[in-house]
């Protein structure tokens, strides 16, 4: 019977008594080289399984996922950077494979849905290995969704395997009631709202703490080239990844707001493109300018069924003597606008 103790004894005896010193040295060096080579191979095998996507692909034959990954922003990152499996998990898998004949794995044996803590390692805390990973810390979108609401990164960035950029109107998945009605139901039924199919982040901006578009963001499309240049330079997520297309910018009505025009507050005070294509002129005297119907000659003009905008041109608002000479004279002789409110 094979007795390992005895065998070992015989080998040592043979090595120490039967060999010449020269043979001993050769065998010792040979053994040393053998050990080093084995160590190197073991390192390489481990490195292959840990760090080479090809090792993963041997079993994980999900062609679409692989192709998407290869052309994604994460193409030069190994599977295991995001799809972590602990050494223990790996050993259990290997044991099952080798000794229990298990040929499939439980779903999510690693973290197939990558937990945010792994994303944050590079994209919030900085990882020296991936120093160019975009930093989400300055993003107010992420402050709201990641920090305050604790929404997992993959909810928005991984809902389609390895496609990390969101679709333009993906926000509607959660913000269901905020969907534009391309065929407005609240204004004139079946009339198309002009901004009805725009990407959410064409308007909603990372520049404001409540993520609502401020004047400048509206003027990105409705203003001049100067505003576009300024915002593009700031490179917030909304203009970097969801920049309105040239066609959108071209279509947008360009508005001219004179420096001295009154009421230069947020556009949304009057406009709500989620509901209507144009502000409702009836709300002017209901929501804010409630005393205007009694002021000066307003009453008599409103009785003639004139609307606010017939005299007050949107965005410049003030009726200048020049305008009065042009417009008022269509009904009566010219009078100084200042006397209108006396």
């Amino acid at each position: 019977m094979l007795n390992p103790m005895k065998l070992f004894n015989n080998v040592t005896k043979w090595f120490s008594e039967r060999l010449t010193p020269k043979a001993k040295i050769i065998i010792a060096i040979g053994a040393l080289i053998f050990v080093i080579i084995m160590g190197f191979i073991a390192y390489k095998i481990n490195d292959y399984f840990e760090n080479d996507p090809n090792a993963c692909f041997a079993c994980h034959v999900h062609d679409d996922a692989n192709k998407q990954w290869a052309k994604s922003e994460h193409a030069n990152i190994n599977c295991h950077e995001c799809h972590h499996s602990s050494k223990k998990d790996q050993m259990v898998q290997m044991y099952r494979f080798a000794f229990l004949g298990q040929r499939s794995v439980n779903p999510r044996h690693g973290e197939i849905i990558v937990p945010r803590v792994l994303c944050l390692r590079c994209h919030w805390e900085r990882d020296e290995k991936f120093s160019k990973a975009p930093d989400i810390s300055k993003s107010r979108y992420h402050a709201k969704h990641v920090f305050i609401e604790k929404i997992e990164c993959t909810k928005c960035h991984g809902y389609r395997t390895h496609k990390f950029s969101l679709e333009e109107r993906y926000c509607l998945t959660c913000h269901k009631d905020k969907g534009f009605r391309p065929h407005g139901t609240t204004d004139k039924p079946h009339e198309k709202i002009p901004m009805g199919e725009l990407p959410c982040l064409n308007c909603h901006t990372d520049r404001t703490s409540n993520l609502l578009p401020e004047r400048k963001k509206c003027l990105f499309c409705h203003g001049d080239e100067k505003v576009r240049k300024e915002l593009t330079k700031d490179a917030t997520i909304d203009v970097k990844h969801f920049r309105p297309t040239d066609a959108t910018v071209k279509k947008a009505v360009k508005i001219n707001v004179p420096d001295k025009a009154p009421m230069q507050f947020e556009c949304r005070t009057c406009h709500n493109p989620h509901l209507r294509s144009r502000p409702d002129w009836a709300t002017c005297t209901v929501k804010c300018h409630t005393t205007v119907p009694y002021t000066g000659k307003h009453e008599i003009h409103l009785q003639m069924n004139l609307q606010c905008k017939n005299c007050h041109k949107p965005h410049s608002w003030k009726v200048t003597p020049e305008q009065a000479k042009k417009d008022c004279v269509t009904c009566h002789e010219y009078k100084d606008p200042k006397l209108f409110i006396k």
Partner: protein, 354 residues
């Protein structure tokens, strides 16, 4: 070459011991020896576990060397009194072994400053206070706090900057914000309005020494006080109850004192009063005690001078508030019957604008 038989040879010692154990003693003796050896190693294991547990999890182990009485006392009465030192002051096993080696073999009796993480990195705080740790499920969650979204997430300011600047005192002082927001300090002795009166004493801003969070709230995305937050002091008990029920950090930890509330002027705003927007549109307690009435016709109501009888009344040196009572604004017929008749006979306020 003779053999040095008298030299100590561990291999032959082991050989002899095995020989003695297998041939020199009775079976009974062998069992006794084996049993006691087993007991001995179990006892050693237990002792090792206890020693490790003591050094890892018992603050007394730390206190043996870290004789910082003030820090210890503060910790014992702090919110973190139930936590062990090492939960926050992490030192890796490697660090610990190096320290122990230096202590035992190199005679080093002091440690390099911050051999562990004496200034606790935010990642350790976030483990319990943002991600939830099952061991400490009651740790307050900063996830819903807009203060923290701004300062921790956006600005990446270390937690200890605000919560640990005095050792083991985790609650900030009331006006600690001013450490960074230097230019936002309320001037209790106002320098921007009247730098000094005739006697040379400085005018005092009424809200000049309030805690920052008495006004700045966790309720709004820009952290500016919304109407309701102003009305916490300047409004009725029902608003106070509502805000207290919401339990945001500002009313939980920095609730205005009874005395502050009592001092605050109480406003009555009827439901249909005009201009019910944010108080800060007109008021800026950082700069002035009261809004500047000149601003009304410059900033917003530029036309009013030309409207109806306003021009005439302004020429008589009346200011806006003489007729428009703050927060109510609209001149009602009742008020007109009372106020206008001090100068002239009653006229319908509606005709004032004609």
């Amino acid at each position: 070459m003779g053999r040095n038989l008298w030299m100590f040879n561990p291999i032959s010692l082991v050989k002899k011991a095995i020989l003695w154990f297998s041939q020199g003693i009775s079976t009974k003796a062998r069992i006794v020896i084996m049993g006691s050896l087993l007991l001995f190693s179990l006892a050693m294991l237990f002792a090792a576990y206890k020693i490790n547990d003591y050094f890892e999890n018992n603050p007394n182990a730390c206190f043996a060397c870290h004789v910082h009485d003030e820090a210890n006392k503060q910790w014992a009465k702090s919110e973190h009194a139930g936590l062990n030192c090492h939960e926050c002051h992490h030192s890796t096993k490697k660090d610990q072994l190096i320290q122990m080696y230096r202590f035992a073999f190199m005679g080093q009796r002091s440690v390099a400053p911050r051999h562990g993480e004496v200034i606790v990195p935010r990642i350790l705080c976030l483990r319990c206070h943002w991600e939830r740790d099952e061991k400490f499920p009651k740790a307050p969650d900063i996830g819903k706090s807009r203060y923290h979204a701004k300062h921790v997430f956006n600005e990446k300011i270390e937690c200890t900057k605000c919560h640990g600047y005095k050792t083991h005192k985790f609650t900030m002082e009331e006006r600690y914000c001013i450490t960074c927001h230097k230019n936002k300090e309320l001037q209790p002795h106002d320098t921007t309005v009247q730098s000094s009166d005739a006697k040379g004493t400085k005018a005092c801003l009424p809200m000049g020494s309030l805690p920052c969070f008495n006004c700045h709230t966790d309720r709004t995305s820009d952290l500016l006080p919304g109407r309701k937050k102003c009305l916490f002091c300047h409004g009725s008990e029902s608003i106070r109850q509502e805000l207290l029920a919401d339990n945001t950090i500002d009313v939980k930890h920095f609730q205005p004192k009874q005395e502050t509330i009592q001092k605050a002027i109480k406003l009555k705003i009827s439901a249909n009063a005009a201009m019910q927007f944010h108080c800060y549109e007109c008021h800026n307690p950082h700069l002035k005690a009261r809004p500047d009435w000149n601003n009304c016709t410059i900033k917003c109501h530029a036309n009013v001078l030309n409207v109806g009888k306003h021009g005439l009344h302004l020429q008589l040196n009346l200011t806006c508030k003489d007729c428009h009572k703050p927060h109510e604004w609209k001149v009602s017929p009742e008020q007109a019957k009372r106020d206008c008749i001090t100068c002239h006979e009653y006229k319908d306020p509606k005709n004032f604008l004609k």
